[in-house]
């Protein structure tokens, strides 16, 4: 391992030396490999310091293309090993100078990591996003001008505009209330839940207003029940457009940084 100065850590597994069936290719095209210490195994890969050293990372993290490439590669390795055994995912950009330094982390944090592994065993993360269903701008008051009393074109426009704005405000309020009800119900089926801040519409490529961005840790034997619940909730709450994503590796439930509510 001396040809590469840095060690990227993807995840940590409980057992010694996991055998990769697929030989996942990770960040920067390097193959992921096991690194064992303290009865735990980190899944690591070698990366070049010129790209993943501290100074380079700081720059590269602000480059969206680099970030996407790296995030997807990180995810792909974690996803591959998750299928074979429970793992605790690491945050993106956890980099050590040597295998020894990474092994030292395993020894130092063994208790925390074991606790997280126990909690995540037999569970997967599911994402549920909810967007407010907004009435179209032309939904209200598109009727031809009625010749009612005191209707100039200006007054008609203002009236129409007011109806639209009221409809949109009502729709949003209803969506927010629905989101709370949906979250409460899904939370009951989950071992744990985490609320993320709403994604901005520009970044998410979704024009609607996001009112729910949640992650749920669900026991695998309840996954089907959870999926059914999302479908039923989607049908029951017309004000919300629900999207289910997953199963994810349990990124959002690794302990320490986890909370029931973000912010």
């Amino acid at each position: 391992m001396t040809d590469s100065p840095c060690v990227w850590v993807y995840a940590v597994a409980a057992d010694a030396a996991p055998a990769f069936t697929g030989g996942p290719i990770g960040v920067a095209g390097g193959a992921a490999r096991p690194l064992s210490a303290a009865g735990l195994t980190a899944i690591v890969g070698s990366v070049a310091e010129s790209e993943f050293g501290e100074a380079a990372l700081r720059q590269n993290l602000e480059d969206l293309d680099w970030l996407e490439r790296t995030a997807r590669a990180h995810h792909e390795v974690i996803e591959t090993v998750t299928k074979e055994r429970p793992v605790v995912p690491m945050r993106l950009a956890t980099v050590y100078s040597t295998d020894e330094a990474a092994a030292g982390m395993l020894m130092e944090r063994a208790a925390d990591l074991r606790e997280a592994l126990t909690k995540l065993a037999g569970c997967s993360e599911w994402g549920v996003k909810g967007h407010a269903v907004m009435p179209g701008d032309d939904a209200a008051g598109q009727q031809p001008e009625a010749d009612g009393p005191s209707t100039g074109p200006g007054a008609a426009y203002l009236r129409r505009r007011r109806v639209q704005l009221t409809a949109r405000r009502d729709a949003r309020q209803e969506a927010v209330a629905s989101a709370q009800a949906v979250h409460a119900e899904l939370d009951r089926l989950a071992a744990s839940a985490r609320l993320y801040p709403p994604q901005s519409p520009e970044i998410a490529g979704h024009s609607g207003s996001m009112v729910l961005n949640a992650a749920y840790l669900v026991a695998d034997d309840r996954a089907e029940e959870f999926g059914t619940a999302v479908t039923e909730l989607a049908a029951r709450h017309g004000a919300l457009q629900l999207t289910l994503t997953g199963p994810w590796p349990a990124y959002s439930f690794t302990g320490r940084n986890e909370s029931r509510d973000e912010r």
């Binding site: 700081r58 995030a71 995912p89 519409p201």
Partner: protein, 75 residues
């Protein structure tokens, strides 16, 4: 990188997304995962990665918006 279709379970395809959306992935890999200070990334550990990468997102999104002026949709 080519698309990385990952979600494989088949529950309720009608409301499932087929491909991991970058924005969902970034929520998780930047704000989730075990936060342990790598010895190479000491100073980065103190930085909120979400903030750092948001700058990247915002920059590239505003570039996008300038390119196609009408891409913001009705507002």
């Amino acid at each position: 990188m080519s698309e990385a279709p990952t979600a494989t379970a088949t529950y309720h395809p009608a409301i499932r997304e087929e491909r991991v959306a970058l924005v969902d992935l970034l929520d998780r890999v930047l704000a989730g995962g075990v936060v342990i200070v790598g010895d190479v990334t000491l100073s980065i550990a103190d930085v909120d990665l979400v903030t750092v990468s948001l700058r990247a997102l915002v920059t590239s999104v505003s570039a996008l918006v300038e390119d196609t002026d009408d891409s913001r949709g009705g507002r």
